[in-house]
Amino acid sequence: MASTVATNQSVLTVDGVTKSFSSGPPWRRRRVEVLRGASLDVGRGELVGLVGENGSGKSTLMQVIVGLLARDAGTLAAPARLGYCPQQPLLWDKLTVDEHFELFARAYALDDQAAGAARRGLLDELGFAKYVGYRVEELSGGTRQKLNLALALLHDPELLLLDEPYAGFDWETYLRFWEMGERRRAAGMGILIVSHLLAERERLTRIYELRDGRCEVVS
């Protein structure tokens, strides 16, 4: 049963979204329905979790929300200032950390002053300032993930979408990540975290479970 928690300050409203994929050769075409009317809602200042088994469609729903995948049906309302941290860090191996910040600052249309301040703040907050001159190919998996997350936060988005964001983090960074989330939430940012395993349930406003292509509030 699809559930929608209505708030009068929603930053994300997903309603009845469906998505299916075709696979296999033309003579043995199979259609897999991944999302069958998924609905969820994230309000300003809410930290919302989305859980589900492997292959349940969490990342698909995330990619539909972000715009990487086109939905088959349903409606979706999201702000233009949106931050997206994909499950696999989408970065350029040969570019340095600083060059990534430079490119994304341009993409977000930040001026030099705002970009510089945001960059310094994120490097300190996530503790990887010493790697600014390193190329991505020289970084550990955890530091890549920090950069992946920092790029999603650079423009201080209204809505932050995190797809398995702490994979590869050490314990200290993991705790720092949740503190960051709390601070952003307190400042009014809406955050949706997708994970197959959410241990920090007490920190979340609400948790949806994606099952059979639909979202249910489970906590």
């Binding site: 995948l69 997206y84 989408l90 350029w92 341009r106 993409a107 977000y108």
Partner: protein, 232 residues
């Protein structure tokens, strides 16, 4: 401009690629010209002598540019899409990526041209330089189109090589018959052979060469932009 510089820097940080950019055209021109003319005679073609050497320079620039175009587009696809989505838009990402790759194609064409003029006395060197650059840009565009549609390295690179082989066998001088429609680099080859033979090319050939080359780059831009949008 920043984006083009950053993307170009990214490409220049692969020293092996840079070495191949120079080494492949040089080796190809030195070693492949004789094989090309032998091959052409087996197929019933008339390609020989300086014309074969000149054509080998064009093919060398084409081969390396096509491979680079493919790997540039395919390997950076995820990050490029993310950047487009972040607000830059597919068109600006595509133009920056293609502009940076054109720089590499120019280097490959220059290396092939230098190898050519070192090996033989070219009657119209400027014509030859333009024709070799056209080969490089044409195949850069083909590589980008394939890399935008197919990200799997094996399948994508095989497709680029397949197009290259079809084009090479169907090109002027390679067989007894007239050039076939899938000889995409036919005009570049005509101009290059004419430059080597000292006959020059009619203005119609130049116009067609420009149309085909610019058209290929525009097609590459459009396919790149389409692939950076939401997938169905």
């Amino acid at each position: 401009m920043t984006r083009i510089v950053v993307f170009a820097r990214e490409q220049l940080r692969a020293p092996f690629t840079l070495a191949l950019l120079v080494a492949i055209p040089a080796l190809f021109v030195i070693s492949a010209a004789g094989v090309l003319s032998d091959f052409a005679s087996v197929l019933g073609g008339s390609l020989a002598g300086d014309a074969a050497v000149a054509l080998s320079a064009g093919w060398a620039a084409a081969f390396i540019s096509g491979s680079l175009g493919f790997f540039q587009a395919a390997s950076s696809r995820g990050a490029d899409r993310r950047l487009a989505l972040a607000g830059l838009g597919p068109a600006r990402v595509a133009s920056s990526r293609i502009a940076a790759s054109v720089g590499l194609a120019v280097v490959a064409a220059a290396a092939a041209f230098v190898a050519l003029v070192v090996r033989v006395d070219v009657a119209h060197p400027l014509h030859a330089a333009v024709a070799i650059l056209a080969f490089a840009l044409l195949y850069l565009a083909i590589g980008i189109v394939v890399g935008s549609l197919i990200t799997a390295p094996l399948e994508g690179s095989l497709l680029v090589v397949f197009v290259f082989l079809l084009d090479a066998f169907a090109g002027p001088g390679m067989s007894g018959g007239s050039a076939t429609p899938w000889a995409v680099s036919q005009k570049a080859a005509d101009v290059l052979i004419a430059a080597a033979m000292g006959t020059g090319s009619p203005s119609g050939d130049w116009v067609k060469l420009v149309i085909v080359t610019v058209g290929a780059l525009v097609a590459a831009f459009l396919v790149f932009v389409a692939s950076a949008r939401s997938r169905a």
